[in-house]
């Protein structure tokens, strides 16, 4: 018997055995896309390369290189890895597919598997759908009510008719789960004995608590307010997100996962940061951005000028502050809108003053609803001065005009000289932004802007034991963004505690076909138009009168209808694709070699689909068919870069005999050729 040295270790081989087969026998990992075990080596993908170090040294494909006595081979050195990576990057550069749907990859900041939960929802599997959401975000119901749904903007269904109503499905799924006795959280891992202290019980802090507790850590949350929820409770009015939902969802985390929470405990006042550090193995700052920013105008300190966050907080605590009969809300963001719509509900005549135009307002639906409820709008206007006059407030405003768009495309407001005018109101609500309270934090973790500075890949501050996530890092942002940050922090903290290095979450890997607007029309041509579900809601009259939740439950049929509108954009083979698996493993940058590429192209018969746009020309299908004496299935047409796997004579799939179909489909390393009835397993 002869011997070969693989990665400095000696192995025996039989005459004629290839490097790949000796490695396979000895559990030495070598990836390959085109090699089919039973068939002669083909040599197309070059992902299986290894380096021979002696004799005829160099890079060789291991699938087809026979071992020789005394041969020294390295299967995993940097050079080999580099070549594998480049092979994969080249294949990816000529690949038209979305491993994962755009709503998940580009749309959702928390990368929730939308396609997956919709599919499960459509089958009525609500608990499983909720479970799938929770893998990325533990508060589906809250998100389902408050998220501005960036996912819907990139939803492919936009190109057919209207986007899927993604946002509220999360609430419906969770509602159903609650009806069935939920929320059902997963079981937590056994106790690690590590203590993590979290400052703030808002979405970032509670999400981190959830994931850290699941990993078996002892979580202690410090919350300044008497209740949890952070801005979701104290910033978002109950007609959007009712108290009992917050309680249900967050109490479940506390109760089911044994998270300890200390209310009315302000770090820096009730307990010092140092104490926190001493009592824990890691600390997460997630105290949000809850201080109202000031406008820097004369008269701003009047008691008739109310910060929006304060106003909303008092309403949430059922101890509302009196604001008179007429108020003006300054600002155009979500908080301004929430404050105005709350004021209207309290019977106050309310006007929103916004310095840009309607165009620039973030939430279009919200504006429409606010108008229905009687909120008035004055665009292109800003206050320059307030004066208290006989218990009333005289607000001097100035008109604005917008500049030409700057490099980033943003148009900034410029005051129009001499356009001052006056408003007489009882109060003014200030909603122009919020700041972070970092007064209790040690200086060495703060950045230039006086807020915690982190490594975005793992949320770690300059002090390796301290992490930060959510609004306290970003300033006021979406709830879902805070959820994503909390999860990422938890992931890194877990690594920090258990593996001593705080590796961050790996970026989601996906091949991407293109931007919504660039995709070819044919991709959408065959779908029947079906309008988006109408969310049942209470009447405008009822809305104006109080804090009843606007959006109402929907029927199972409605949910099924909406879920089935989903185009299932993510690739069917996502869990069985070797190309994706290796690309992830070798940290492939799909955009490394951009250039001319395959375009949308599919053909099918009753049994199989040929996704030419995802084929990598490994010819496994052709070779397996031929090995089964089927010469009429597929062949190669064209040459070079434009060569394609096609039915004979450039024919169509419906004309071919699909013999040995299972074997062919199972050996296809991508979704190039696949069963027509294949469904993705979402788990």
């Amino acid at each position: 018997m002869s011997r070969v040295i693989l990665n400095s270790k000696e192995y025996f081989f039989n005459e004629g055995q290839t490097i790949l087969s000796v490695c396979a026998e000895n559990d030495i990992y070598i990836p390959t896309l085109c090699h089919v075990k039973e068939l002669a080596p083909y040599g197309s993908c070059f992902v299986c390369v290894v380096e021979i170090k002696n004799g005829r040294a160099g890079i060789v494909p291991s699938c087809s290189t026979a071992c020789s006595d005394g041969m020294i081979v390295e299967t995993d050195n940097e050079r080999v890895k580099g070549i594998r990576k480049m092979a994969l990057e080249l294949l990816m550069s000529d690949h038209f597919g979305d491993c994962l749907a755009p709503c998940m990859v580009e749309g959702c900041p928390a990368n929730i598997n939308i396609q997956g939960f919709l599919a499960l929802e459509g089958e009525g599997k609500y608990q499983e759908a909720a479970k799938l959401i929770r893998q990325k975000a533990p508060i589906p119901n809250i998100l389902g009510r408050v998220c501005p749904a960036p996912c819907e903007k990139v939803c492919r269904r936009n190109r057919v008719d209207e986007p899927i109503s993604i946002r509220i499905q999360k609430r419906y799924i969770s509602d159903k789960e609650i009806e069935q006795g939920g929320p059902f959280l997963p079981a937590k891992a056994s106790d690690t004995g590590k203590v993590v202290s979290i400052v703030g019980a808002g979405p970032a802090g509670m999400t981190a608590s959830y994931f850290l507790a699941l990993s078996g850590h002892r979580v202690k949350v410090y919350e300044a307010h008497p209740k949890h929820g952070g801005m979701t409770r104290y910033g978002i009015p109950y007609y959007r997100l009712p108290e009992d939902i917050i309680d249900k969802e967050l109490d479940a985390i506390i109760a089911q996962l044994g998270v300890e929470i200390l209310y009315n405990t302000k770090v820096g006042k009730d307990i010092s940061f140092e104490e926190l550090m001493e009592s824990s193995d890691a600390v997460l700052l997630a105290n949000g951005a809850q201080i109202s920013s000031s406008m820097d105008i004369p008269g701003e300190n009047s008691s008739l000028v109310v910060p929006a966050v304060k106003y909303l907080e008092l309403v949430a605590k059922h101890t509302p502050r009196e604001i008179g009969n007429e108020t003006v809300v300054v600002g155009g963001g979500h908080t301004a809108m929430d404050a105005a719509r709350t004021a209207v509900r309290m019977g106050v005549k309310t006007t929103i003053l916004y310095r840009r135009s309607e165009e620039e307002m973030p939430g279009k639906d919200e504006v429409a609803e606010a108008i229905e409820e009687g909120v008035e709008f004055q665009y292109l206007s800003a206050p320059v001065k307030c004066e208290e006059v006989k218990n009333k407030l005289k607000v001097t405003c100035i008109k604005m005009e917008l500049s030409q768009p700057d490099a980033s495309g943003r148009r900034s407001p410029i005051p129009v000289k001499g356009s001052e005018y006056e408003l007489q109101v009882d109060t003014m609500i200030m909603a122009i932004g919020q700041r972070v309270d970092s007064s209790f934090m040690p200086l060495d973790i703060l950045g230039k802007r006086g807020i915690p500075e982190i490594d975005k890949s793992n949320m770690q501050t300059r002090n390796e034991k301290v992490f930060a996530a959510g609004d306290c890092v970003t300033g006021p942002d979406l709830v879902v963004t805070a959820v994503a940050a909390g999860r990422k922090a938890a992931f890194a903290i877990d690594n920090y505690l258990m593996k001593a290095v705080a590796f961050g979450e790996k970026k989601l890997f996906s091949s991407v076909t293109g931007e919504l607007c660039e995709l070819p029309e044919v991709m959408f041509a065959t779908y029947e138009k079906k309008s988006r579900m109408i969310i049942p809601h209470i009447s405008i009259e009822e809305r104006k009168q109080g804090f009843n939740v606007i959006e109402l439950p929907a029927s199972d049929e409605q949910l099924k209808y909406e879920a089935e509108r989903c185009l299932l954009c993510g690739c069917v083979e996502v869990n069985d694709c070797k190309l994706k698996e290796y690309s992830e493993l070798y940290d492939v940058d799909t955009k490394m070699f951009q250039g001319e590429s395959r375009e949308y192209e599919k053909d099918s018969n009753d049994e199989v689909v040929l996704e030419t746009d995802k084929c990598i020309n490994c010819a496994s299908c052709i070779r397996i068919a031929e090995a089964n004496d089927n010469y009429k299935l597929l062949g190669l047409t064209g040459r070079g870069f434009s060569s394609r796997v096609k039915p004979p004579f450039n024919g169509e799939m419906k004309e071919v005999d699909c013999l040995a179909c299972d074997e062919i489909v199972n050996n296809c390393p991508t979704a190039g050729i696949r069963k027509g009835n294949k469904k993705v397993e979402y788990s």
């Binding site: 083909y42 040599g43 993908c45 494909p61 070079g640």
Partner: protein, 588 residues
């Protein structure tokens, strides 16, 4: 009129593809018509003798001197015939060149009969010791001894890779099988290369003789000549040669009654470059898609129809009869120790004496370019020479002392290759040149393996962006990384050698790349997208000529006022520069 010359004269018209393309047929017809008037002038045709820049031409021997009557036209024929013996008068109207002078620096083995014999006449070949080698071998040399001989000669394959021919034959000989094959690789796919064509057209029996000897040596009874269909004349002459050889029992069931049987089949290839690669060639002969397969197994053990097969290039085989006749030692005495013998090159590009040459290995590039080649054909200096076509590399003028042999050329990054040698002058943009070769490779890739199929495409795209001023340094790094990995991780030599033109131009002309990338400029003016035409206001006389000649109407200005080129629409055709009477238009 019925004149008689003092002695009989034989006029041979060069009728290779190149001669015919230049008008040799008309010359021949005219001669045939006129020669009746002369008693002792005989006419015949031969094939290409390598002096392509002199075509159409007639070769003749007068007073013991071989003369070339060059660059002829049919109208010159009557005058030519009248004054054949009066060299002085003849020279006044016809270009007359002494062949010996023209051949200075060359040493012809493979081409020894080319341009001299009539390729359609077996007898011509026989008179030049044709089939002597075959007879010798069949009579008293065993196959093993033949192989020993070839090994001893040191002959290396002329198809590109330069592998020892003797060793290759030995492997095929030793492979156990009832049936074996030999194949003559006459695909000749390099753009600009026509050495093999010239040999097949000029001396077809020589190739056949080499192939039969090869068959005898390895134990094959069947040979194929895989020739691209674009070579109809070569195919025709080979066909005729095969028939004639059969009739003379040089081919057939019992060659020269030796008991050895051999037949030759001509396969016409569709002319894909990759089909010259031996495994792709075999697939193509078998009627499959011409795609290379992974080696090993090598054809010597598993070739055509899975049987042991020896493949040799035309020129390799054409060397065989000479080696057998003259002895291995005579051959190895030529050239260098590791690269014995001669090599045929086709000289092309910006060079005076373009054509086919055969030189001893070990001659310097300088001797070829400036000696045999006569230097630049333009008023610009030769800047570099590209060897080995799309698989080869560029060697800059500073390195023209490099010797032409396998090892020396390899060390520069270029290769001997099949023998294409293209001289470029200072008007050539090296980035554009690299792009040209890569474009060729891209269109010829079979599409089987990742690096060649997609990698060369990406390289081409980057080069294209460079020539359009749309690239950056990051892309240059990507280009380098791609070149490096394509070179080692492609399936066949087409892909493995594809980056060579880029690698060598990058090595020797990096500044040209940097100029395209950083300054968005092409000094040679070749890259149209980087050229800007402008009008000098001081010089412009407002004649309106440029505006009238601009095909896209992007020049404005009124009569007698300075004109102006609006760059957005300009297609850089250069018409304005050409028509301006005062030279006010300049290229930046």
């Amino acid at each position: 009129m019925n004149s008689k010359l003092p002695q009989s004269v034989l006029l041979k018209v060069g009728m290779g593809t190149c001669g015919i393309a230049a008008g040799a047929r008309a010359i021949y017809d005219k001669l045939e018509e006129q020669v009746k008037n002369f008693q002792n002038i005989e006419i015949d045709y031969t094939s290409c003798n390598g002096f392509c820049h002199l075509e159409p031409l007639i070769e003749t021997i007068i007073k013991g001197k071989t003369l070339l009557l060059a660059n002829l036209s049919a109208e010159q024929i009557p005058f030519l015939l009248e004054n054949l013996t009066n060299k002085k008068l003849l020279s006044s109207k016809v270009l007359v060149i002494e062949k010996d002078k023209k051949l200075k620096g060359q040493n012809r083995i493979v081409l020894e009969n080319c341009g001299i014999i009539n390729p359609d006449k077996l007898n011509d070949y026989l008179e030049k010791d044709g089939y002597v080698a075959l007879k010798k071998v069949l009579n008293n040399i065993s196959p093993e001894e033949v192989i020993e001989n070839i090994k001893k000669s040191g002959l290396r394959g002329r198809g590109g890779a330069g592998f020892s021919t003797g060793i290759k034959w030995d492997l095929a000989r030793k492979a156990q099988s009832e049936q074996k094959y030999v194949i003559c690789n006459a695909d000749e796919g390099d753009p600009g290369a026509f050495m093999d064509r010239a040999v097949m057209e000029g001396d077809p029996h020589r190739v056949i003789e080499g192939l039969i000897i090869c068959g005898y040596a390895i134990g094959a009874s069947k040979g194929y000549i895989y020739c691209r269909a674009e070579y109809p004349l070569a195919i025709m002459r080979l066909r005729k040669a095969i028939i004639d050889a059969k009739e003379s029992n040089l081919l057939g069931e019992n060659v020269l009654n030796s008991g050895f049987g051999f037949e030759i089949i001509i396969k016409e290839g569709a002319g894909a470059f990759v089909c010259g690669e031996e495994t792709a060639l075999i697939a193509s002969v078998e009627g499959q898609r011409g795609m290379p397969r992974i080696k090993p197994p090598f054809p010597a053990t598993k070739g055509l129809w899975e049987k042991p097969t020896n493949i040799n290039n035309v020129e390799t085989l054409a060397n065989i009869p000479w080696i057998i006749r003259k002895g291995a030692d005579s051959f190895s005495a030529l050239g260098t120790e590791k690269s014995p013998g001669t090599k045929v090159f086709s000289l092309a590009g910006k060079i005076k004496n373009a054509g086919l040459i055969e030189i001893e290995m070990g001659v310097s590039l300088r001797d070829i370019i400036y000696g045999i080649g006569g230097g630049s054909s333009t008023n610009k200096e030769v800047k570099a020479v590209q060897l080995g076509g799309p698989s080869g590399g560029c060697i800059p003028a500073e390195m023209f002392d490099t010797l032409v042999d396998y090892e020396s050329l390899m060390s520069t990054g270029a290769i001997v290759g099949s023998g294409g040698m293209v001289a470029v002058d200072e008007d050539t943009c090296m980035v554009d040149l690299a792009k040209y070769f890569l474009q060729f490779i891209q269109s010829e890739s079979c599409g089987k393996c990742t690096f060649c199929r997609i990698g060369t495409k990406r390289m081409l795209e980057i080069l294209t962006r460079m020539t359009e001023g749309k690239s950056n340094m990051e892309e240059l790094n990507k280009l380098r990384a791609l070149a490096q990995n394509i070179g080692v991780a492609s399936l066949c030599a087409l892909g493995k050698t594809a980056p060579n033109p880029v690698m060598t131009t990058l090595r020797y002309f990096e500044s040209e790349y940097l100029e395209h990338i950083n300054e968005k400029k092409c000094s040679t003016g070749v890259c149209k997208a980087l050229v800007i035409y402008t009008i000098d206001e001081q010089k412009c006389i407002g004649c309106t000529k440029c505006a009238k000649n601009c095909p896209v109407d992007t020049i404005s200005g009124s009569l007698k006022k300075p004109h102006y080129i609006h760059q957005e629409k300009c297609i850089k055709c250069g018409n304005c520069e050409k028509v301006c009477p005062v030279g006010a238009v300049s290229k930046l």
